[in-house]
């Protein structure tokens, strides 16, 4: 077990990240000034729909964006080391050893021509300098850790012999091989069935308990997040709309988008047949993003001021802040008036 750090220390912090990349000849401003942090030994959820910039944000921080992408930031610190000042070689080492990433689609992340054993031992040999025999033993241990039965037999099997859930476990195992301090999981359960999803989420929780690593979980599913994360960041239109502790976000959301999201999903315990409250309209284009708050055109509380410029953050507690010109009380008042 690694030394326990206090929770107010930050394992990863980024200030003012901007990412622009080109596609189909157009410039997409995917991330437009996001500052956030992840603490030691905590699970941070990054929630947002497609086009919100959540994946791009993480990839930018890790240096995984394509060549033509432009990533700028005031500062990106990982365990007090400034990533921006590292050479590509140092970044690469860090990526494998200290930070690991698990992607959404296990089918495309594994080489179909190589055995599972190969995938794992490769990582172990490269990042922990093990020889073949030790690597194999370690690979078996890691496969057990992620709940794969008969791991010795599995080493010689190929990805296509595994089901979706198992492959996802293998990816997590590969990530764990390096004993990373930070694990970034990009929509790890989206492609999986609900019962398998539950197993994987339990696994992540268990691993976090056992190893003390931090996890950043990127997802669009608020339900997944409720039982797992300690803190949540809500992204929209390339910006961070609101962040706070999980209970704060679910029980007292301060931003109109967060509130709208919570109202658009069917409530589990509600036997009611109340109409769902959809969010009208569509997400803004990031090729030509609006000048003001990106959510303004779909927000039922929006006023002229909202479109003038990106609002400043209102800080509600040590842990919660929201980017909206209206305070939560003002929103409540307006809500009552509408009803």
């Amino acid at each position: 077990m690694e030394e326990i750090k206090k929770n107010d220390d930050k394992i990863l912090s980024a200030q003012n990240v901007h990412t622009t990349f080109r596609t189909h000849g157009k410039s997409v401003k995917a991330v437009r000034g996001v500052s956030f942090y992840a603490g030691y030994q905590e699970i941070l959820a990054v929630v947002g729909e497609s086009g919100s910039g959540k994946s791009v944000l993480m990839k930018s921080i890790l240096g995984l964006m394509p060549e033509n992408a432009e990533v700028t930031a005031d500062q990106i610190l990982f365990m007090d080391k400034n990533i921006l000042e590292m050479t590509p070689e140092q970044q690469r080492k860090m990526r494998g050893k200290e930070i690991a990433m698990v992607f959404q689609d296990p089918m495309t992340a594994l080489n179909p021509l190589r055995t599972i054993g190969f995938h794992l031992t490769e990582v172990l040999k490269r990042h922990r300098g093990m020889d073949k025999r030790t690597a194999q033993k370690e690979a078996i241990a890691v496969l057990e850790q992620v709940g794969i039965s008969s791991p010795e037999k599995r080493l010689d099997q190929y990805p296509h012999e595994f089901s979706g859930g198992m492959r996802q476990r293998v990816l997590i195992a590969m990530a764990l091989c390096c004993r990373p301090k930070l694990l970034i999981a990009d929509e790890p359960t989206t492609a999986l069935d609900v019962t398998i999803q539950a197993q994987i989420l339990e696994l992540l929780k268990k691993l976090q308990d056992e190893t003390g690593m931090s996890i950043i979980l990127i997802t669009h599913d608020l339900g997944v997040v409720a039982s797992l994360s300690r803190r949540i960041m809500v992204m929209y239109g390339g910006l961070l709309m609101e962040e706070g502790l999980t209970e704060e976000i679910f029980y007292s959301p301060k931003h109109p988008y967060t509130r709208a999201l919570l109202q658009a999903i069917p409530k589990p315990q509600a036997g009611d047949r109340k109409r769902l409250e959809p969010i009208p309209g569509m997400a803004p284009s990031l090729i030509d993003p609006p000048d003001g708050c990106p959510f303004a055109e779909r927000c039922k509380f929006a006023c002229e001021q909202c479109e003038k410029g990106i609002p400043k953050y209102r800080v509600y507690s040590d842990t919660q802040r929201a980017m909206c010109i209206f305070s939560a009380e003002e929103l409540d008042a307006r809500e009552r008036k509408v009803d």
Partner: protein, 330 residues
């Protein structure tokens, strides 16, 4: 909400759909039993939700019922008429009354056709409507799904996922069917758009007197939209009940596990709820376990479960379960 007195619109009796898995020379080497003996009835005006995980056969069942696929055995009755063996052009009047909307808005519409052609093609083929009336009807449908008549001349790629789904709905409803198979229509959409589409489907159902078979894997959304729900596992129905009854009082072990696996969007509630973990992996549909398909992963499994196929029994009005071990303790 009580549809029990309504007429039966669609009935399935021991419907099976098997797909042969061929080897290199084209000989049948195994069978994928996608649907393996399903009985159900759907009444006019209701929304029957069909849930289950990958490989359970729910999509296949839906498509077989609307005769997009030919059933391997069993019988299907629509409005009392046996449509199991109908073939060729005789299927057209049936397809006018039973339509489908698809999951993937990107492969459901031909990217080389504009909206007018997309909706017009099936209208012309299925309903034989007069060419002069077609444009008018297309405009009307577009308005019904919340789009503009101008959109007729645009191509599918100019629209977002949610809008494409609306076009798909307009296409299906343009021929004025009575029954609509919704084959996972919202799975590929963003959460905020899902609610838009679901509300629209509910409105249209009321306006046009439609009956839905709603196939989905998002259990929370299914509860919201369905009157009754059927749970499938490896080609068979394991439980059928009214929507609320199923969620509040699930009886089959698989249903219980499935429901407990749904992520609860409420931190405190989620912490309190007990997760019923399923052991093991889903068996391959090519090698379905004998007897009760679920016995290999069932925590209550007994000896007889691997031999006998459990029958679907009505344990309380409207609540059917296929399990030999009821009542279950715990």
């Amino acid at each position: 909400m009580d549809n029990r007195n309504q007429e039966i619109l669609l009935e399935a009796r021991e419907v099976c759909k098997y797909f042969p898995a061929k080897d290199f020379f084209g000989r049948k080497k195994a069978e994928v039993k996608a649907v393996d003996g399903v009985n159900l009835t759907i009444r006019k005006g209701e929304t029957f939700g069909l849930v289950g995980e990958s490989g359970c056969g729910k999509s296949t069942l839906g498509r077989t019922l609307i005769r997009m696929y030919d059933p391997t055995s069993g019988s299907i009755l629509f409005k009392g008429q046996d449509i199991t063996r109908v073939k060729g052009s005789k299927l057209l009047p049936i397809h006018r009354q039973m339509q489908i909307i698809f999951q993937d808005p990107y492969s459901a519409l031909d990217p080389h056709h504009n909206v007018r052609e997309i909706i017009g093609e099936s209208m012309a083929a299925v309903s034989g409507i007069a060419a002069s009336e077609m444009d008018g009807r297309i405009e009307e449908m577009l308005k019904k799904v919340g789009m503009k008549p101008d959109d007729m001349y645009k191509y599918a790629y100019e629209f977002s996922g949610g809008q494409r789904q609306r076009i798909g709905i307009a296409r299906a409803l343009a021929v004025e069917p009575e029954f609509l198979l919704c084959d996972e229509p919202i799975s590929a959409l963003d959460v905020s758009i899902q609610a838009q589409v679901v509300n629209m489907l509910e409105d249209l159902q009321e306006e046009m007197g439609l009956t839905y078979l709603f196939v989905a894997h998002d259990l929370s959304m299914v509860r919201h939209i369905s009157t009754r729900i059927g749970v499938m596992y490896l080609g068979r129905l394991v439980e059928i009940a009214d929507s609320d009854e199923l969620y509040e009082n699930p009886l089959h072990p698989y249903t219980k596990a499935l429901l407990s696996a749904i992520p609860v969007a409420d931190p405190q509630l989620s912490a309190k709820s007990k997760r019923l973990m399923l052991q093991g992996e889903l068996p391959s549909p090519m090698h379905v376990p004998s007897g009760c398909h679920f016995h290999t992963r069932c925590m209550y499994a007994e000896e007889g479960c691997s031999r006998e196929v459990p029958e679907m029994k009505e344990v309380s009005p409207g609540h059917f379960v296929a399990c030999s071990c009821l009542p279950i303790k715990g």
